[in-house]
């Protein structure tokens, strides 16, 4: 166990202890008044909790292809999201349900000197294995809060997770095959396929400079275990700091191109997962963007995890507020908390970091002086000068929500 993990364990114990002292006035830390939608409304009623292979009960977004959201209370269990609680998102319903490592190959070809076809064991021994703790957040996380609403998965805040990924750097593998000097992009494909041939396959591309940077990883390990099947077993592309759309599951093909990827199967780069091509990556609500570009890095975000919307907290007693913050790897600068709906702010304390791409825990001891309803808010900034806006902006895809979130609570 690393030092950080020790600290996490320790802080978890302390949290449990604090919760114990509060238990006298039960049910002080009440569960959210809302259901699995956490305030998001749906055309056809509440989303059920469902059980899928190797997963605890998660929120159903849709069943075929599988799409499951992590209930938000799970983010209070620690900065690492457990494998069986990690969200699941597929685009195409012709997905593999059986994978035999004896047959599995990762093919690397295209504008390279020496194409390779590797078994997982061969890939594991190609260079030294590395680890990174990184957040995978869906581009549409929190889409359900878009105003006006937009079609698409109506996610609350649970389409994200933070894990320790183990694999080899993509760069090292590309160096083995020898990328040709005119290479422009690298395309990634997994074993999931469309149901109909007229539907585009799910391919994603990275610019060659990004693919050859130290960050992207070809990972088989997640929190010390094999990847769960539904998170991309046996191999997943990890793109730290980038939205989950690039993290291709069941990765089977890497193709180096001497041009920018286009065509039918470039749909998820060239038509979908695009944001307005301007500074705010936003447009006036309800309007279209003239020009768009592929979504890329994670904006700075923060959440309160120790109390859910609709929860209750005690008056005149020391309470520890706790939560998480993250960004694209620039490094968090500050996390500020307001317990009066944004009128006043106080600095929270950041716990030790598991790395610049990880969720980072924040804590603040507080004592509520008044009973009644109030709004808790948390706001993070990073070292690149980004700060969460108080008011959410809007884009047609409902992507990249990053405004300060409000947690209404009652002080009793």
């Amino acid at each position: 166990m690393t030092d950080n993990e020790h600290k996490q364990m320790h802080s978890r114990r302390r949290f449990i202890r604090n919760a114990g002292t509060l238990a006298l006035a039960a049910p002080l830390i009440a569960h959210a008044a809302q259901g699995t939608g956490e305030g998001v409304t749906f055309a056809g009623g509440e989303r059920p909790l469902v059980r899928f292979p190797k997963k605890r009960k998660l929120i159903l977004v849709h069943s075929r292809p599988p799409h499951l959201e992590t209930p938000f209370s799970i983010f209070n269990e620690g900065v690492i999201t457990a494998n069986d609680a990690f969200y699941v998102r597929y685009h195409l319903a012709n997905l593999p349900t059986s994978i035999d490592l004896a047959d599995y190959r990762l093919n690397i070809r295209g504008a390279v000197k020496k194409p390779l076809s590797l078994s997982l064991d061969e890939l594991k021994s190609i260079v030294e294995q590395v680890e990174v703790v990184a957040v995978n957040q869906c581009s549409g996380n929190s889409r359900g809060y878009s105003s006006p609403r937009v079609f698409g998965a109506q996610l609350s805040h649970g389409a994200m997770g933070n894990a320790r990924w183990m694999g080899v750097p993509l760069k090292a593998v590309l160096e083995k095959v020898g990328v040709l000097s005119d290479a422009k992009q690298v395309v990634f494909n997994g074993l999931d396929k469309p149901v109909q041939p007229t539907t585009p396959d799910f391919h994603k591309s990275l610019d060659i400079e990004h693919a050859l940077s130290p960050e992207p990883l070809l990972a088989w390990g997640m929190n010390g275990e094999d990847l769960p099947f539904l998170n991309g077993y046996p191999l997943k592309l990890i793109v730290p700091g980038y939205f989950g759309t690039y993290w291709v599951k069941h990765l089977s093909d890497i193709v180096v191109l001497d041009h920018v990827y286009k065509g039918h199967d470039a749909y998820f780069m060239n038509k979908a997962y695009r944001i307005p091509d301007n500074d705010c990556m936003c447009v006036a609500p309800g309007t279209q963007a003239d020009k768009t570009r592929p979504i890329s890095t994670l904006p700075v975000r923060s959440f309160i995890t120790s109390v859910m919307a609709g929860g209750q907290m005690p008056v005149n007693r020391r309470v520890e507020l706790k939560g998480i913050a993250f960004d694209s790897g620039e490094g968090l600068k500050s996390v500020d908390v307001s317990i009066d709906g944004g009128r006043t702010w106080r600095a929270a304390k950041l716990s030790a970091s598991l790395g610049r791409f990880s969720f980072q825990e924040w804590k603040l001891d507080i004592s509520f002086k008044q009973i009644g309803r109030t709004a808790l808010m948390v706001r993070a900034s990073n070292r690149a000068g980004e700060i969460q806006p108080l008011k959410a902006d809007w884009n047609p895809g409902g992507y990249r929500r990053h405004a300060v979130e409000t947690t209404p609570v009652t002080i009793i």
Binding site: G44, P53, S63, R64, A153, Q196, T198, T199, F229, A272
Partner: protein
Amino acid sequence: MQSTKTVRSILAFCLIFFTASSSSFAAPKQIILPPETAKLPKSELAGYQLATQKCMICHSVDYIFYQPPGMNQAQWTAEVAKMKHSYGAALSETDIKSIGAYLAVVYGTAEITDSEVLAASAISLAKADSKPQTQELLTSNGCMGCHAIDKKMLGPSFKDIAAKYKQELQAQNMLVTSMQKGGVGKWGEIPMPPMANLNAEQAKRLAAFILEQ
């Protein structure tokens, strides 16, 4: 004591051996996904049967349940059009209008008595009454998205279906039932949606066509 030690080291050796080579000898990793139970709400509108048949080719209909409330007919119709234009769904322009109207009634702001809803739904009813050729039926019902005459695609080839059932007395009726009610498990885990938009005569004609292959 010595022998215990030896046994221990043999065990340790085996453990290391199996761990080191576990990935090459391991059985295939498999998952069984929970059965798909979501069904669209029934309606007299033509779009109900069309949606049940065509949306369910590519995705479960809970995809639709959990869209935002309060969308109007134009918005729902645009979303259905996206399924054709972006995702290549086998939908005609009249299917799109009809499904859009139905979804706007059951999940949006439209009422079943709206003239726009009736207009959008009437078009495809009129079309369903005409007598399309077998080839047209295969295309308009999206059959060829999942099946081919002589090779396995997502579903079995028509030749394989013919070979499996040809000898059975009730083969044609069986295929008619499979088409009209859908099914799963006979050929694999990906379900075939019910082709509820086919009338009995059309389904019989298609079944005969398949059995001739």
